[in-house]
Symmetry: C2
Subunit: 219 residues, 2 copies
């Protein structure tokens, strides 16, 4: 797969089939992930792959509790704004995200594979998220959908304890990435264009050009 | 370019030529970056591209001061260990990194392009580093080398102030990514293999297989 196709079409894919992800695919995903850079090439990362349905089922209720808290606390304002003005573009986007995440919560036991990423000694995330995103891009190339969430951090050490993470080694859970073969279609996600979020030499300067259509498209 | 070639060969490339990166290449890099996911699709990011040599020259001494502090404080122990046992594999790796970073510091004014990434409202880095890494992968596809550093954060708001970042909008500088056409060759970086840093269902379990050679190689 072309690099640009992967970069443009790897969107959050939460609706997946329960079909297992074969171990050779898992190995290609992980081997790609560990090629990513990390500060001082320290590679202070660990990746926990969970494909045991019993363990997925133990994590499911914790995930659902976190999602409940997400809507009730962190996204409360955006959800109220969406309810007040349901026809606004932002409202529709918020409700689409909620529907997709609620699907993930309700069907969590169907995920055939969860990837957890841990790091230590890095306060910025700059030494773990390139590797996580590489895993998601490699998964895309393998036809495997994924999505990234840090929501389980709400529950502190509960999930790390379930996974057997040693308490005295300073590992910090960076995120969980559920994976599986998608039910839906790949596509280019809608985003605010680059010229609205990128500047040249001076904050607020614009970019000297407008990029109103994606510069890559399926041909 | 194949996605796997990009994932395997995008290593930190600090030795670059002063040749400018054309604006159409910069636009493709940015348009790929903004396709990345962010929490709640919030896209709370800004990308500042700096190609003005006068501004690069203002940043250069600040970067050099940060690198001096990096060696004197954060990497002090690793450098002392390397000096004490120069033939050890870890020592050689540390000295190679120091040489590469010192080159960047000494020749900073030669960088034709710096990308700064800013985010807000995300404490994990999970909503900015996928976009930054997408920019680096797109750059790789364009033949442009890059490296990621968060070292300028040592100097607090000095660089954001230089770039004109408004103080009252909560933007946090995530990293700087110097870019340019490489002097050296692309290659697969050496890493601890996946089976040493990834587990299946239980921490410390191993992966059920050894992956001693990269699963992708230039053919």
């Amino acid at each position: 797969m072309d690099i640009y196709e992967a970069l443009y079409t790897t969107r959050a894919m939460r609706r997946v089939k329960p079909d297992p992800v074969p171990s050779d695919v898992v190995h290609r995903i992980l081997d790609a992930a560990i090629r990513a850079p990390s500060g001082g090439n320290s590679q202070e990362w660990r990746f926990m792959m969970v494909d045991d349905p019993a363990l997925v089922a133990q994590i499911a209720p914790l995930y659902r509790e976190c999602i409940d808290m997400l809507w009730a606390a962190i996204y409360n304002d955006r959800l109220e704004a969406a309810a007040a003005d349901p026809e606004a573009a932002e409202s529709k986007q918020m409700m689409a995200i909620k529907k997709s995440v609620d699907y993930a919560a309700e069907n969590f036991e169907d995920y055939p594979l969860l990837m957890f990423a841990f790091d230590r000694g890095d306060s910025t995330g700059g030494s773990i998220f390139p590797a996580v995103w590489s895993a998601q891009l490699a998964a895309r190339a393998e036809g495997v959908g994924s999505s990234l969430t840090s929501v389980l951090m709400i529950k502190g050490d509960e999930v790390p304890n379930l996974l057997g993470v040693p308490a005295d080694e300073d590992w910090k859970m960076a995120c969980m990435v559920p994976m599986g073969y998608p039910k839906g279609r790949w596509g280019v996600a809608k985003r605010a264009p680059a010229h609205e979020v990128a500047y040249l030499n001076r904050w607020g300067s614009g970019l000297g050009a407008e990029i109103n259509e994606p510069l890559w498209s399926a041909s």
